[in-house]
């Protein structure tokens, strides 16, 4: 799980072009949107594409994204349970 969390942080940094950040700057439980990392709706689109590309997960219900992308930990839990690659 620790390795998955670290990989997710690296992938988020690359997908969202957070050039000045390192995985250590992103807390496992910190909110990704609004407060915390301060991502926006375009970032959400990028994360949906990244999840499908990297883990073969297609998020069909957009409203589910709110829970999935709550933090890196919630993303990791979702990936662990649903990944196809």
């Amino acid at each position: 799980m620790e390795e998955l969390v670290l990989n997710l942080k690296k992938q988020i940094i690359e997908a969202l072009n957070l050039a000045d950040m390192t995985p250590e700057d992103i807390e496992d439980d910190a909110p990704l949107f609004g407060e915390g990392l301060g991502l926006d709706s375009i970032d959400a689109l990028e994360l949906i594409v990244m999840m499908e590309r990297e883990y073969g997960i297609r998020i069909k219900d957009p409203s589910a994204g709110k829970e999935i992308f709550k933090s890196v930990n919630t993303m990791a839990e979702f990936v662990k349970a649903n990944r196809t690659k």
């Binding site: 969202l16 072009n17 375009i42 689109l45 990028e46 499908e52 590309r53």
Partner: protein
């Protein structure tokens, strides 16, 4: 524009990001001359102007457009102009290439949305509007070599009609290595004796307020066919001290200027593309350079085609541009009193 009331129009502030030192007039004293056929713009420290979190998704053309717009708005004291009008020949070509390359490489699924959203021509002007919360008129012109001139004409007409009192006019083009190789094959740039291909970002604030300006735009005309260029097209209110042309070393481009030279007022010929490079919005840098020369009252020797001495006490510059030997534009610019 014949029947439009002659409200006086001024350039209050203007700046650039180009192959010369960015957002600086040092080119007038220490111009950079290069033998390279392709030079990317020298960018300023974007971090000093843009929040890194906000700018992380922006390509270079968007950062340059935003920063030049922010500087001109700040320096002119007009934070929310009544119009934002942009000329761009290629739009966001870098993002377009990234998007298309990914499409070719990976198919039509899982494409990055940011590249797609920021690949259109009107991304530039709309971003300036969104960033500055400017909710007025917002438009983009993409007409090859007269893209900037078309944007300028739109602003002038609206100001002469009394619809607006100020406008932020910008010109932005980036040249990627791939696009340079295409332009080189066409002979537009990259040949022996030609000026370098150079990226261009220019922003200027136009206003009807005469106070504290760089210069006045005394007259503007656009003529599609050179056969239709007549005495009334070139009639200026007084003597012209210099004529600024977009000479580039490309045969057909330079011939299009020579073809009409006999119709122009008699004055020393100036050039600017050897300093700022060739691009579809290079003419915006010509207008910027003329405005700064009028403000300083000096034409540096490096601008003169005949290699003559600097011209002091400059009061009126005639700026000529064209695209493919058509769509000639004639701009009379006068030193502000």
């Amino acid at each position: 524009m014949g029947n439009v009331d002659r409200r006086r129009i001024y350039i209050k502030r203007a700046t650039h990001i180009s192959i010369q030192s960015p957002m600086s007039e040092s080119w007038m004293r220490e111009p950079r001359l290069t033998r390279e056929s392709y030079v990317r713009s020298e960018d300023p420290q974007f971090r000093e102007w843009l929040n890194p979190m906000e700018s992380r998704r922006l390509s270079n053309i968007l950062k340059r457009a935003l920063v030049t717009a922010i500087k001109v708005k700040r320096d002119s004291g007009i934070e929310q102009p009544e119009a934002v009008i942009t000329g761009t020949g290629l739009g966001c070509i870098e993002n377009t290439e990234l998007f298309l390359n990914q499409l070719c490489r990976e198919g039509e699924e899982l494409l990055k949305p940011t590249y797609f959203m920021q690949s259109t021509h009107n991304t530039v002007s709309s971003l300036i509007g969104i960033n500055g919360k400017i909710h007025g008129y917002n438009s983009t012109y993409s007409h090859k070599g007269v893209s900037f001139d078309s944007a300028l004409m739109d602003a002038i007409v609206q100001m002469r009609l009394g619809d607006i009192n100020n406008a932020l006019v910008t010109g932005n083009d980036e040249i990627t290595p791939t696009y340079f190789s295409i332009l080189k094959r066409s002979g537009y740039v990259g040949q022996e004796g030609q000026v370098p291909a150079g990226e261009a970002s220019v922003a200027m604030m136009l206003t009807t307020d005469a106070e504290d300006t760089l210069c006045e735009i005394e007259d503007f005309k656009m003529v599609y066919r050179k056969e239709n260029i007549g005495e009334d097209t070139l009639n200026t209110a007084g003597p012209v001290d210099a004529i600024l042309m977009g000479l580039s070393g490309e045969r057909s481009n330079d011939e299009a200027y020579r073809d009409i030279e006999g119709k122009l007022p008699k004055a020393p010929i100036l050039r600017y593309k050897h300093l700022f490079g060739e691009s579809y919005t290079a003419s915006g840098l010509g207008v910027y350079a003329a405005a700064q020369m009028l403000k300083e009252g000096t034409v540096p020797a490096v601008m003169r085609v005949d290699g003559g001495e600097p011209i002091e006490g400059v009061r009126r510059i005639f700026v000529v541009n064209h695209s493919d030997g058509r769509e000639y534009t004639f701009l009379t610019m006068r030193r502000a009193e």
